[in-house]
Symmetry: C2
Subunit: 179 residues, 2 copies
């Protein structure tokens, strides 16, 4: 274990009581990076609505939100958003966000490994997919290490803060058989 990884990080699923912390995390991380492929809705959602959202996640069999904590502070988050209809309920869309001070510690990999394990155990999710800016080489490297394959480069897949259009990679990981 490297010196950096010696920070005492705990990983656990989010509960409805994490609503305020989750919103604060989303707000913080979206300010710290220009690598997002979609806007986070965080700032516009009330803690009450987020609590309800977290309850729904816990009741669902193809949605999951995993937190990395340093003490009581959420320093990383990884989510699976499952399709909401029979045709696509087997597809889980993956999202990851890490607080900047905790970049480069392997936290993303840790969270993703747990997510993939959880997804495989559901028996429902058969495909994980994600989008990532093509210029975000570090993230793409992590996804590839975990077995994700690039399916597409989507031209103009996202608009940068300066108004320019960027390529976005679509990546996927098939989970389990299709029996």
């Amino acid at each position: 274990m490297s010196e950096k990884q010696a920070v005492a990080i705990s990983i656990r699923p989010a509960s409805p009581n994490d609503a305020a912390g989750v919103l604060a995390h989303v707000s913080q991380t979206s300010k710290e990076t220009s690598f997002l492929t979609m806007e986070n809705e965080g700032p516009n959602i009330t803690a009450e609505a987020e609590k309800h959202h977290l309850e729904k996640i816990n009741e669902s069999d193809n949605n999951f939100l995993l937190l990395a904590l340093d003490g009581d502070n959420i320093v990383g988050m990884a989510s699976i958003k499952g399709g909401s209809s029979p045709k696509v309920e087997h597809i889980g869309e993956l999202g990851v966000s890490i607080v900047k001070d905790y970049w480069g510690m392997g936290l993303g990999t840790l969270l993703l490994e747990d997510l993939i394990e959880w997804a495989a155990a559901t028996g429902v999710i058969k495909r994980l997919e994600l989008t990532v800016q093509a210029r975000n080489k570090r993230a793409i490297h992590v996804y590839e290490k975990l077995g994700f394959l690039q399916e597409a480069v989507m031209q103009r897949g996202v608009k940068d803060d300066d108004g320019s259009y960027l390529d976005v990679c679509l990546m996927s990981l098939l989970i389990g058989g299709t029996e």
Copy 2:
């Protein structure tokens, strides 16, 4: 003009008053085809909610719903759903549905040509994208004729009614410059 195309079809944007007709169309076409890549929400939405939805579309500058009518009957529908945040507001997701009796008349092409023209005129939309089942060769041929390029084959992109998993193509068409 072929004999089939001589049917008097009119094409116009949907208005809030079309709510009930739109829902009936969605319900009918989703029963007639197994080529959908996502579940239509139609049957679960009230006419009042759909009316509100159509009002929102008309107020938006990157959402559009176009109808093909035979008399008063909606026999085809084509839509653009624009991204809802600054990062993706330039992306329009395209959907088309045609009543089975009107397949093979070129109605889809007509609707799509109008949609693309509308999208180009917005000045907002710079990328149109769509998903289509890989086995739906006829639709793919239409999209290619209109200039769409295949960006990906998404494995297990949709579950068929019999529970098997099907490939789904991601296609896109860039519109205008990025100035």
